[in-house]
């Protein structure tokens, strides 16, 4: 009986779509229940649980993605949606143009200085263009790993540095950890989220222009 139900469920997108939402809800509940510790990041929990379930049931990722792609697809419209907080806070954004530019250049300088380890943290630009419509690749996997890492360490690290400027905090999170950093920033503060969204867009822009140029130089 159970085997028959499993045969049915494993062939429809319904199961893994539901599992994705349920795992995230469970992650969010654990995060809230145990004092919002950074390591209990809902995405980290959801991903860990789902990987364990896929491994235990011997389900290929492709089967999982057939269901989960509906969630995945929303990344595109969500990126477009970042225009709204940007619009609402445009006065603050205009006032912070110079600090943003400096931070972007600073982070770029640091990137070039540490090219080898950093080459794994490929930018949102590639992430988005590769992910939409297709299965995420190894590059995307590293982007995600970087994003989860950034979302986990951003708050404790920025507290350690005693930075209270929410614009700076958000911008840094969005720059280092793209959408996941942005998501985390929106949880903290609307202004932080807005600046994270700009950092994400700027980084995508800068990297897509800079990486080909660098690659040409290094050849």
């Amino acid at each position: 009986m159970i085997a028959r139900i499993w045969v049915y469920l494993s062939a429809t997108p319904l199961l893994w779509l539901t599992a994705t939402l349920a795992a995230y809800e469970a992650g969010a509940w654990i995060f809230g229940r145990f004092g919002r510790r950074p390591l209990l990041n809902p995405v980290l929990i959801a991903v860990t649980v789902l990987i364990a379930v896929l491994a235990a049931t011997g389900t290929p990722y492709e089967t999982y993605f057939d269901g989960a792609q509906f969630v995945h697809f929303l990344l595109g419209p969500a990126t477009v949606a970042l225009a709204v907080p940007l619009f609402e806070n445009r006065a603050h954004v205009r006032a912070a143009l110079l600090p943003m530019l400096a931070a972007l250049l600073g982070a770029r300088g640091e990137t070039i200085a540490s090219m080898a380890p950093k080459s794994v943290t490929t930018p949102i630009a590639m992430a988005i263009s590769e992910q939409i419509g297709g299965l995420p690749s190894l590059t995307a996997a590293f982007v995600i790993a970087t994003g989860i890492c950034g979302a986990v360490i951003a708050t404790p690290l920025l507290n350690l540095l005693r930075l209270r400027d929410y614009r700076a905090r958000g911008f840094a999170a969005g720059l280092a950890a793209h959408g996941l950093g942005t998501a985390r920033a929106f949880q903290m503060d609307e202004m932080a989220g807005t600046f994270a969204g700009i950092a994400l867009a700027l980084n995508g822009l800068a990297t897509s222009l800079l990486v080909p140029a660098l690659a040409r130089l290094m050849r």
Partner: protein
């Protein structure tokens, strides 16, 4: 919700088309974001159409990364041997980017404020 989604998807679609048409290296959704921003500047009233839906989408932004995150499973075998090294590299480089950009941002913002005062 449907008018808002139509607007978001139209901007994304236009972004994708522009990027392909002109061979731009910028991702379509990012172009779509600038299109929507321009649209809102030109017609501030249209913000009411998208506000609620975009707020909901952005509240659950991190959920949208879960399917791609589960994709890490496909590379588990390849990565296992160097898991520790890769983890350390990712943590250090991410921490460095966060620290450098946040400190530079805050320092420049502070210097600007001092000068305007």
């Amino acid at each position: 919700m449907i008018p808002a989604l139509t607007m978001l998807l139209s901007c994304q679609l236009a972004g994708e088309m522009i990027a392909r048409l002109f061979g731009l290296p910028v991702p379509g959704p990012v172009l779509g974001m600038s299109l929507l921003f321009t649209l809102l500047l030109a017609r501030p009233r249209s913000e009411a159409v998208v506000r609620d839906t975009t707020a909901t989408l952005l509240r659950y932004l991190s959920l949208l990364f879960v399917p791609a995150g589960v994709g890490l499973i496909r590379h588990a075998g390849r990565v296992r041997a160097e898991l520790a090294a890769i983890t350390v590299a990712i943590v250090i480089s991410t921490a460095a980017t966060i620290a450098v950009s946040a400190l530079v941002f805050a320092a420049v913002a502070r210097a600007l404020e001092k000068r305007t005062r």
